[in-house]
Symmetry: C2
């Protein structure tokens, strides 16, 4: 969506819901943000998909798990084991329901009674309200509650706004010394040789817009999380069913294509992508058409697809 040098891109590893199909994988996505690789959910076969789409295992330091249903977590133990086999040393951060620690550490203890080569650091999510769960110099990640049968969170990944660029013509015009330039980029004004104050805004231009992505799976349609995804460039929202099964969507705490598109519309996002399709649909066109009738800029996702933000 923009031409920045550092990629902000999403790779789809799995698109299906709980029941396996012969050609689709359960939920997993990798968001590459300015050199960081964030894995979001980890269904069975995620490590195979990572190999296929050339996501290096050692690049993954942070894994975000929306909820503890099998089709979102069964790939974790295989991935953790492969990292151990490869002699990983870096800490691995897991953001999830606090119960995941119990589930996984029992398995790890069983498989590796002498321990593994690296440390897993568990970060429990808050299922009551939005929460900042990760922050570094360039990226912030938030979790926010969704509405599913068990505690479930969505995630929002935000690039921090970069400092503006100094305008080359103004550097020349006012002969701004190198020593002052960083201060001006950070918001300072400049006093020229004549003693006049040249305001920061005249000297800079901001070519860079902070990019954002939000992930909502699994959830029933609910207005409570719309503010948490407001204005993102790219929204992934589950759309398990088409309108023919909208009652089933309600009962099972899942969404239809129309539900996903309504969230996208109300939250005024840039683009919507939908997935987590029920195995009953050989063809997702009906789900996609339902969504597009409400929010035109919608795409359905496929394994291996890459979205540049």
């Amino acid at each position: 969506m923009s031409g920045q040098a550092m990629p902000f891109q999403l790779t789809i590893l799995g698109t299906s819901s709980a029941l396996p199909t012969s050609n689709r994988y359960p939920t997993a996505q990798v968001l590459q943000v300015l050199g960081r690789f964030f894995l979001i959910d980890c269904g069975e076969g995620t490590q195979t998909q990572m190999r296929k789409y050339k996501i290096g295992f050692s690049k993954i330091n942070h894994i975000f798990i929306s909820h503890l249903h099998g089709d979102h977590i069964f790939g974790l133990i295989g991935l953790i084991s492969t990292m151990e086999l490869l002699g990983r040393k870096n800490d691995l951060h897991l953001y999830s329901h606090s119960e995941l620690q119990k589930y996984l550490s029992a398995q790890i203890q069983f498989l590796y009674p002498e321990g593994i080569t690296y440390k897993i650091i568990y970060h429990p999510l808050n299922f009551k309200k939005e929460q900042k769960i990760y922050e570094d110099q360039k990226v912030t990640v938030f979790s926010f509650p969704l509405v599913h049968r068990i505690p479930t969170c969505g995630f929002r990944f935000e690039e921090k706004p970069a400092l503006p660029n100094l305008r080359p013509d103004k550097i020349d015009e006012y002969q701004i010394p190198i020593r002052d330039r960083q201060r001006i980029k950070e918001g300072g004004d400049f006093i020229n040789k004549e003693g006049n104050l040249i305001p920061h805004t005249e000297l800079t231009e901001n070519k860079h817009t902070a990019r954002s992505f939000a992930f909502c799976s699994d959830t029933r349609y609910d207005e409570s999380y719309i503010d948490s995804v407001r204005g993102v460039d790219l929204l992934y929202h589950e759309a398990t069913f088409a309108n023919d099964n909208k009652d089933l969507a309600q009962i099972t705490y899942h969404s239809t294509g129309e539900n996903a598109a309504t969230v996208a519309l109300k939250a005024e996002v840039g683009k919507l992508i939908i997935g987590h399709f029920s195995a009953r649909y050989n063809d997702h066109t009906p789900i996609l058409e339902d969504a597009q009738s409400i929010f035109r800029n919608t795409e359905s996702i496929l394994e291996g697809q890459v979205f540049q933000i």
Copy 2:
């Protein structure tokens, strides 16, 4: 290998060893014997492969697990969950190291605190000696110890010899009444109207040879298990490495192609198939050639391949 009506056939679901590759799956095979479907090992992604190769989940009532390394068991929890989602009622029999029960039941308890829709019956294997672990009217299954880093068993599946057929010409010649026929098939003789004894062997013909398959993964080459696979029609034997890594095979308790072929030769099997290839080999030809130099009737396996026995 023969033209019997009831199939005795092996479907390969996964051929790779522990590290995932982009196009191969960890170990899993399905043996179809006279209407029974036996799943042997269950690496991550087995349920996806079953869908792909049209092995119905409800047909699997018996799962045989050679040992508790992740690449042979990580697909179990996904398969068990899918069976639960599909409302399975039949018992599921698991033949494995006794510790598998602890490992799996903790996960099931975590995921389904109210229990699942069917019963899992665990059958612990004996790692000291060969043991009959399954028997019904038509099939017998044996486990036998292999030589790996942790307790590991191979499996041998034997069709029971069918009763011989009565020769139609002899039925006519001696006018054998229907009431006597089953008894003669089971080994009895016949006394004709003249009071002469016509021996069983003159009256019957045996068109049917009992078929057999043996599975050896993972193991270091060792003569101790050769008797357990002697004379089988089809032998699967792991061949993780080519000769270039035979020292590594020793150290890691795995086999080379040459090791697998030596077992096949000494055990006088009909045909050898090899797999469990290390991810370091993009091309298995060297492993296969090493094996064929010792035992010509060797094939390397591919996902989706079917072997008729």
